[in-house]
């Protein structure tokens, strides 16, 4: 019968790998699961529908996590953050005026005020935005880009490697030399070029669309007004009404902020995915080269199987091990690249957060006089742990799939 589950399963042999899987699951759930909340409107009074990750009040800027001990100066600043009405009520109860109470940092009145301090679990950034919210949504973006870029690179790499390995001979030689050349190019250069090129393309498209639509609107207004006599055409209200109508019907052609963000993110993930498939292609090509000489491939041919069937049914399942291992090792790489590019300001552009640009923002705020350590620490901690977990999982999988580590 089947062996008792879990005892000899190579997938559960690596403890670090299991911890990694657990951590990644929690991370993914937290980052992606909180997306509706972090992207949702905060609904605070006076807000103009900014998503929660981009919403904050400047007077609550650079606050430490609420559980962090605060000095007197900062306590006074936090007291300032308590709403007027609440402060007045507390002041009245203690028989002092609000100004005076806000200046206190100890005593019962201060304790009462403390209860009303704005609370940030992981502190707030320069603009008073919650670091927790930004880290979560930034994590969603980093993980999302990392995973999709890795997926893209796995797809390209596998296809390229299989074709190269299966074709063999001169085709293989040419295809692998192309890979060698791409290996030689600094990938940063490629990514920057790609990002800039896509940006420029998008801008050109938008500009030409804006122009053509404005012409269309003018024509629409002209047509709308042609029915009226010269006197009525001077009527500003009428003209404005027709112009408004034209705007509603035709639009301006400008990209919305959301669209622009989407283009930015997609460009980045295509750029990263497009340059990180090289190792994958090499590994897969090597595997295919050895697999295609296996007698069972020849046996399949002798059985009358065509190219597609041999590829899909006989090659791919045998390639699955290395594909999975390299995919899990490509994900942390892709995440790291994304963060690195964003840190340099080439990748995800603020206000859209990502672990990389959060770290970049945090680094600027680090100074010897007042260390806003939480701005740098939390995004970096999450990034570091995630990368570590992914590498553990990758190593664990590699061990599990390694045929040389015979089954005990």
């Amino acid at each position: 019968m089947a062996p008792p589950p879990g005892r000899d399963n190579p997938l559960t042999r690596s403890v670090a790998g299991l911890i990694g899987v657990g951590f990644l699951a929690v991370m993914l759930l937290a980052c992606l699961g909180s997306l509706p909340w972090t992207l949702g409107s905060s609904g605070r009074e006076g807000e103009i529908g900014l998503p929660r990750y981009n919403q904050g009040e400047a007077r609550e800027g650079r606050l430490p996590p609420w559980w962090w001990p605060v000095g007197k100066d900062r306590a006074r600043r936090l007291n300032e953050g308590v709403p007027e009405a609440v402060a007045a009520e507390i002041a009245a109860r203690h028989g002092a005026d609000a100004e005076d109470v806000r200046a206190r940092t100890s005593g019962s009145a201060a304790e009462e005020l403390r209860a009303h301090w704005p609370r940030y679990w992981l502190g707030s950034d320069v603009l008073g935005r919650s670091v927790l919210v930004r880290s979560l949504s930034g994590g969603a973006i980093s993980l999302g880009i990392g995973l999709s870029a890795a997926l893209l690179s796995v797809l390209i790499g596998t296809l390229y490697g299989v074709v190269s390995g299966y074709a063999g001979g001169r085709v293989d030689g040419v295809m692998m030399r192309i890979v060698d050349v791409l290996y030689g190019l600094p990938y940063i250069l490629l990514v920057v070029l790609l990002a800039v090129a896509v940006d420029a393309l998008v801008e050109r498209r938008v500009a030409s669309r804006v122009e053509s639509l404005s012409k269309e609107r003018a024509a629409y207004v002209e047509r709308g007004l042609s029915g009226f006599d010269a006197e009525r055409r001077q009527d500003k209200a009428l003209v404005r009404r027709v112009e408004q109508e034209a705007l509603e019907r035709i639009g301006t052609g400008e990209l919305s902020a959301g669209r622009r963000n989407a283009v930015n993110v997609v460009t980045l993930l295509v750029a990263i995915g497009g340059v990180s498939w090289l190792t994958m292609a090499r590994v897969i090509r090597g595997q295919v080269l050895s697999l295609k000489e296996q007698p069972f491939i020849e046996a399949a041919r002798a059985m009358g199987a065509g190219w597609g069937r041999i590829f899909g049914r006989h090659l791919l399942p045998n390639l699955l091990g290395p594909i999975i291992v390299y995919a899990t090792l490509t994900v942390p790489q892709a995440i790291l690249q994304e963060s690195f590019l964003s840190f340099l300001g080439i990748g995800v552009k603020p206000p859209l957060p990502s672990w990389g640009n959060l770290a970049a923002e945090g680094l600027v705020q680090l100074n010897p006089y007042e260390s806003h350590w939480w701005l740098l620490f939390f995004p970096c901690l999450l990034l570091g742990l995630t990368l570590l977990a992914l590498n553990f999982v990758g190593e664990g999988l590699r061990e599990a799939f390694d045929p040389k580590r015979g089954r005990r």
Binding site: F296, A302, M303, G304, A305, G306, P317, N318
Partner: protein
């Protein structure tokens, strides 16, 4: 005729496979092309086993692989020749067949078993899946029917507890059982011709005997022709009806098994036969093939040697009275030296104008089983 033969099987009115003047060469990057097979003739009939014998690299496997167009091209190339096969849809030339039509024949009408049962099965699928794949490739049946066919195929090749083992993976099978699975796969579609490329080389002797007996039984019950490639003369003596000895890409001797073992005519064949130990015979050491083929006198023992007929041998200088034909392999001829016994000879003046018959023996060993004997009669 009482036995239930498949309706499509024609009467034994012609050969199943007729190889004529086949030549295959391979590109050698730094040197001349390597002529692996050069002017090979052979014939396989229904319910007949043709054994192809020869040392490594003599072109046995290349001949068999050519029948399925499994030679990678390039570097391989079919230089000339035909492989006429009596397919279910009429005669075809296997060498000239387009790939799409070839795929219909592979596995379906001509099946092949390989030498390495350890690596000829895909490790990621159950053996049942792999036999089913062979069935589904060529037959319009449902998955459930394919499963039944696969199960029956496994029972036919004598795998015990087929219902349970059909869900097993190749690594759970022993070598002999894997070879049985390979045979089940090969036979699941009831091919007319089975190419067995050293099917027992990787197996131990007991299993070898079992597998060969199985193949013999299946050949009889399924009215199959079989090309058995081997370098084990014991296997040949036990299983073959007709033997084709090859050397350096050419046929050096071709005769029925009794004739060949009883009166080998080519020195190389004699060398082969003398280099195997015989039971009840005491000798200091066995003769090597070399000792025989390097003895000039051996080449003069061929009937007709006085008249100038010389056995072909690539390491000899051609005889002085060689009158080669135009074209490739013109210095060589497969001559019917005695009735139904062919030997590869130099094309000397003595055989000029002598074209004769090319090897075609429908000879079969007398059937020992009374049941099959009745069917044959």
């Amino acid at each position: 005729m009482t036995s239930a033969t498949p309706p499509a099987a024609p009467a034994d009115n012609g050969p199943l496979l007729r190889v004529r003047d086949l030549a295959v060469s391979f590109d050698n990057r730094d040197g001349p092309r390597i002529q692996a097979v050069d002017g090979v003739h052979m014939t396989v009939h229904h319910r007949q086993t043709l054994a192809v014998v020869g040392e490594s690299g003599c072109g046995k496997s290349v001949t068999a692989m050519s029948a399925l167009q499994l030679i990678p091209r390039p570097p391989g190339r079919y230089d000339r020749g035909r492989m006429e096969f009596a397919s279910k849809r009429g005669p075809v030339d296997l060498v000239a067949l387009p790939e799409a039509r070839m795929r219909e024949i592979r596995g379906n009408e001509i099946a092949m078993i390989f030498q390495e049962p350890m690596t000829s099965l895909n490790p990621v699928y159950t053996v049942g899946d792999q036999i089913m794949e062979a069935v589904l490739l060529h037959q319009e049946v449902s998955d459930r029917d394919a499963f039944e066919i696969a199960l029956q195929a496994m029972k036919d090749v004598g795998i015990p507890e087929a219902e349970r083992r059909i869900k097993g993976y190749p690594h759970q099978f022993s070598g002999g059982m894997r070879q049985r699975v390979m045979i089940a796969m090969a036979l699941a579609c009831h091919p007319r011709l089975l190419l067995a490329d050293e099917p027992t080389t990787a197996l131990d002797v007991t299993i070898q005997a079992q597998i060969l007996e199985l193949l013999r039984d299946l050949r009889e019950t399924r009215d199959m022709g079989m090309m058995l490639i081997t370098h084990d003369l014991g296997v040949v003596a036990e299983n073959a009806d007709v033997v084709c000895v090859m050397y350096a890409g050419r046929v050096v001797e071709y005769a029925n098994v009794l004739e060949l073992f009883g009166a080998p005519l080519h020195p190389y064949t004699r060398g082969l036969l003398n280099s195997i130990p015989k039971l009840g015979e005491r000798r200091e050491r066995l003769l090597t093939i070399r000792e025989i083929v390097e003895n000039e006198a051996e080449f003069k023992r061929l009937p007709g040697a006085q008249g100038g007929i010389r056995p072909w041998w690539p390491w000899h200088d051609p005889p002085a009275d060689l009158t080669p034909h135009e074209g490739p392999a013109g210095d060589y001829h497969l001559l019917e030296v005695r009735p139904e016994h062919w030997v590869g000879v130099w094309r000397t003046r003595a055989i000029e104008g002598h074209e004769g018959r090319l090897p075609d023996l429908s000879y079969r060993k007398p059937l020992s089983e009374p049941a099959t004997g009745a069917a044959a009669g």
